[in-house]
Amino acid sequence: MRQVEDVRSKMLYDYETVIRLDELNELKVKYLGKKGLITELNSQIKNLDKEEKKAFGQAVNELRGLFLEKYEKLKKRLEEDKIREQLEGEKIDVTLPATKIRRGSKHPMSLAIEEIEDLFVSMGYDVVSGPELESDEYCFERLNLPKGHPARDMQDSFYITPDYLLRTQTSSVQARYMMERQGKTPIRIIVPGKTYRREDDATHAPQFSQIEGLVVDKKENHVSLADLKGTLEVFARHMLGSNLDLRFRPSYFPFTEPSYEVDVTCFKCHGKGCNLCKDTGWIEVFAAGMVHPNVLRMNGYDPEVWGGFAFGPGWDRITMFRYGIPDIRLMYQNDIRFLQEFDRKDGE
């Protein structure tokens, strides 16, 4: 039994000296290997007498158990130390600049229209388009603007021939769409698109964009001015701010009767008056009105049966207001730095 005690103290001493994994493995060989100290004790058992055999065998087994217990514990600790050491060696400066992953960007006009399209599609509107080179018939005549009408002056046009022109308004698609439907089905559409007028000054560009909205339904389905108001409230508040008010001013457009210009509370000064709203507290955003019976009639819808409303904000204006872009020219200059500002999701 003294032999067992000797090996035990030796083992305990040896464990104190192990600091690396390879030393631990050597230790295992030293004690449990083929010629290991504990293995040797084991081989001595057979030489002992019966009485001693049991006690000795038990002691050796305990010693083996102790060795393995200590071994597992130490192994785990040393392995952890080793990994820690390795990771320490991999230390990096997390404040160094990142590797660039560059996405492109949508034009702010596209960002705005995608949002508007999603809103109207959710309300059951179709988004449709039409030609930019338009006939006088669809751009004017079918919209209750016969040749010589003084209101044509409001829209100085780029003619290509006496009968063809660059459309001055997306309303031309109203006529096309109604003619396509032949007065048979209700209509709910918005028409985003480019429009052109013969003007070029500080506040007008020859090319700009509009979004036309048109709802036509049986009169009894209540497509009234109040419904137009509600629709524009949803539109304006969705795009420009939930706490805005709208102001309707009676106006005149040949294709609607009654007609309105619609202002929205100035979002810069909240109605107090500032340079943006020219101290009125209001910003003009929409032209709107109830579809003129002549327009319905000329495009195949019986005005005794059908009624509806139309509206059109400037697409450029609504984009500028939405993103606080101060000058329309910025949107057509396409400075890459300007474009890249719009590579992010909008806050909700």
Partner: protein, 790 residues
């Protein structure tokens, strides 16, 4: 149209505590926009004073030291005007007075105390066109009746307030003080007062005046002779009201014609009767006919114009401008008054060529025949009163109009259905009565009689608008239409392409469609005619683009000029062309790439042909065109690099081009692609469906061959595919090399092949047989040398 508060007061009593800006805002609410509103004269603290004493300034040869009585005190004022003299009544700007030129302060001028300023008319801030020589050169000389210490602006009669309205095109009736009075009357529920049309006529004057109306473009023509005129200045109130409304006073006769136009909206023309003769002909102008107008310009007319002619020649352009020969002058003693209605479209055309005037504007918007008669009488009344005229009892009348109040049938439910309101019938009737429309009831329907002055009202919807205006649009509560639930649709493809290209690192741009004509055929060999504008804004913008490339290159140059070099941009927009006499437009995608391009994680490379090709392929794959397109060579537009460009074909049809730009076109390495989306989308794409994954492993084999440099990779690939058969499911090029160890006219090209079988595991033997077959085919086809294989 400018509203003068003093002028409108003649016809409508407005509460004095209603400020001019209140009135303006109330008018906005019913649809009358304005540009500006406020007092006519913005200057303050001006009183009537009398100069008691004038001495020369000791240190100046033109300044005077004046003692001026302003009622409450006597002020020392230094004045430089040459006409200052003792006893003169003057306008004194007291200390702290605000004038357009600044605030008056007490101080010393060259050492002498000055507590105010004596003013000229100019210094009050009147527009230059209203000023006479004496208004500018010296201080204003007030009459003896001016009360010392009283408000000088009031004494001058310039204590008016004005609103400059920007009216809508349909409200021609509001181009008159009377029209504005009716509108205000409806807002404030007040009745418009009568207008004095009385005058005495000279009996039996045996007027030989003969008028012939030979054109259909004149529906009403009145002419009357007025004799014994005494030309002189107009009374102060007429002058001041003209000034308030923006018209320059001239003399009593001319001023009366303008005054009546402002009052009634009916433009008048006065002809000097002596120079006119006894015959007036109203007719269409003859093509090429000549006329010298009032402004001294000789004009050539065409048949769209209407002329007024004497027995000899044209003497005026109807509704637009009179002729020089019959102008009212200082020595005019008798005139012919013309009050007429000319065709709106014709006047509009003529005035566009000649001059847009107050008169032509009114003809263009349409006139009420009742006002045509009213204006004639009103002019006679005023001429008698203020120019001692004798009015002839004969009035030539040509009248093809039929003036009747329109009667429109309407019900309360018609109105409420359109407005979405519940306005009661009583309230509706009240609104009509405020507007001056009479109503009666017939079979439960309202019969609304619309006065002829309201030319803009002809149908039910017009009446509904009127009710809405006066009821107050902002009193109507918004709601949403009760429409059937359905899902809407939008152009998903455009949005998909936009998302894909943005993901690939490109920035979307928005450009204008205008180009100078000579640039339209750049970047294309297509056969088409340029679309030109008839009336362009400039030669830089006189045509419409066919290709989007010139527009995007402008964006490129704009950014390069700002030292930005990594420019990867795209736009989807239309190009325009004319072919076989038809105008068409085509939806296109254009991409311009240059500088560094960042792709996958962290790597970046200078853009080259293959990066642009990769972008195009990725897009075509994403749109569902995998295996349906080809890149083919051909003859390129001059702007492209002849050996680094290609056409894109889908289903054998050319849909676009890509390539490097020619170094003579742009110095930098710029790569450009343009695809006709319209042509691409002709090819339909099926639904995206799951296809089974292969359960069995695939085997990869590589080989490299040396062959002639000019052999295009895609032809080798098609040889490989043909030889490999169905089990060869993938071919890619992983290396192209020429240089050391390779003959100058040769290249080494390395392919990686993937073999698969969907029904079993392929054996090495099977694959080797196919692999050898492929290599043999390539070697034979191109007399190639096998470099390596594995």
């Amino acid at each position: 149209m400018i509203l003068s508060r003093n002028f409108v007061r003649d016809y409508l009593p407005l509460d004095d505590d209603l400020s001019i800006s209140d009135i303006a805002l109330d008018m906005v609410k019913v649809g009358n926009e304005y540009d500006s509103c406020g007092p006519l004269i913005h200057a303050t603290n001006l009183v009537v004073g009398q100069v008691l004493e004038v001495k020369m300034h000791p240190d100046s040869d033109h300044l005077h030291l004046c003692r001026v009585d302003v009622g409450t005190e006597v002020l020392d004022i230094v004045c430089g005007a040459p006409n200052v003299r003792e006893g003169l009544k003057v306008i004194v700007a007291l200390v702290d007075a605000k004038l357009p030129g600044g605030v008056i302060k007490s101080g010393k001028i060259r050492g002498c105390v000055s507590n105010g300023m004596l003013c000229s008319i100019q210094e009050l801030g009147l527009d230059h066109k209203f000023l006479k020589k004496e208004d500018i050169e010296g201080i204003a000389e007030l009459g003896d009746d001016a009360v010392i210490g009283s408000d000088a602006i009031k004494y001058l009669g310039l204590d008016d307030e004005v609103i400059d309205f920007e009216l809508t095109a349909n409200r021609g009736d509001e181009l008159s003080i009377l029209g504005l009075a009716y509108e205000l009357g409806a807002i404030y529920n007040k009745k418009v007062g009568p207008i004095d049309l009385s005058y005495t006529v000279e009996k039996n004057c045996h007027d030989k005046l003969k008028v012939e109306v030979e054109t259909k473009k004149c529906s009403l023509y009145l002419a009357k002779r007025v004799n014994h005129l005494k030309i002189g200045p107009s009374p102060k109130f007429i002058r001041n009201r003209l000034i308030a409304c923006g018209i320059r006073p001239i003399n009593n006769v001319v001023d009366i014609s303008n005054y009546v136009m402002l009052e009634t909206g009916q433009p008048l023309h006065f002809y000097d009767a002596t120079h006119l003769g006894d015959t007036i002909v109203v007719r269409d102008a003859r093509e090429g006919e000549e006329l010298v107008t009032l402004d001294g310009v000789a004009r050539t007319l065409d048949s769209d114009d209407i002329v007024i002619a004497s027995s000899k020649e044209a003497i005026g352009l109807a509704g637009v401008m009179g002729g020089a020969t019959t102008e009212v002058m200082e020595d005019t003693t008798s005139i012919i008054i013309e009050s007429a209605i000319f065709d709106a479209v014709s006047v509009r055309k003529t005035s566009k060529k000649v001059l847009r005037s107050e008169a032509s504007n009114r003809f263009e918007k349409g006139l009420d025949p009742k006002r045509t008669y009213m204006a004639m009488d009103r002019a006679c009344h005023l001429l008698e009163k203020y120019a001692s005229a004798l009015v002839s009892d004969l009035c030539f009348t040509y009248d093809k109009t039929c003036v009747q109040d329109k009667v429109i049938e309407i019900t309360a439910s018609d109105i409420n259905l359109v407005l979405g309101t519940k306005i009661s019938e009583d309230e509706i009737q009240n609104i009509f009565s405020r507007l001056g429309f009479n109503t009666s009831t017939l079979d439960g329907k309202m019969m609304v009689s619309v006065p002829s002055r309201r030319l803009d009202i002809s149908i039910k919807e017009d009446l509904i608008e009127e009710v809405g205006r006066i009821y107050g649009i902002n009193n109507i509560k918004g709601k949403l239409p009760l429409l059937g639930i359905r899902s809407g649709s939008y152009d998903k493809t455009t949005r998909f392409i936009r998302n894909k290209l943005v993901d690939l690192g490109l920035n979307e741009v928005l450009t204008q469609i205008f180009l100078p004509e000579e640039m339209v055929h750049e970047y294309t060999l297509d056969d088409f005619e340029t679309v030109r504008l008839m009336d362009p804004l400039s030669v830089e913008k006189n045509a419409l683009r066919y290709s989007l490339i010139p527009s995007l290159m402008k964006v490129y140059q704009y950014n390069r000029a700002r030292n930005l070099s990594d420019i990867c941009i795209f736009e989807m927009a239309k190009g325009f062309y004319k072919k076989e006499n038809t105008y068409s437009e085509e939806y296109k995608l254009c991409i311009v790439m240059s500088g560094e391009y960042y792709f996958s994680l962290g790597s970046k490379k200078m853009v080259d042909f293959y990066i642009l090709k990769g972008v195009i392929e990725e897009l075509l794959h994403a749109l569902g065109y995998e295996n349906r397109y080809r890149f083919v060579t051909g003859e390129y537009p001059l702007e492209f690099h002849p050996y680094q460009s290609a056409y894109i074909e889908v289903a054998g049809k050319r849909i676009g081009i890509l390539g490097k730009l020619h170094p003579q076109k742009v110095k930098d390495d710029v790569y450009v692609a343009e695809i006709s989306l319209d042509k691409l989308f002709v090819n339909k794409v099926g639904k995206n469906k799951y296809s089974e994954l292969n359960k069995y492993p695939s085997i990869k084999k590589d080989f490299a061959v040396i062959l002639d440099k000019d052999i295009p990779a895609d032809s080798i690939i098609s040889v490989i595919k043909k030889a490999g058969g169905k089990k060869l499911t993938g071919v890619s090029v992983f290396d192209v090399y020429s240089g050391k160890n390779i003959d100058e006219d040769k290249k080494s090209i390395a392919f990686s092949l993937t073999f698969e079988d969907y029904s079993k595991t392929l054996t090495d033997e099977e694959v080797n047989v196919l692999f050898e077959k492929v290599i043999a085919a390539v070697l034979e086809q191109y007399q190639a040398v096998l470099r390596d294989h594995d």
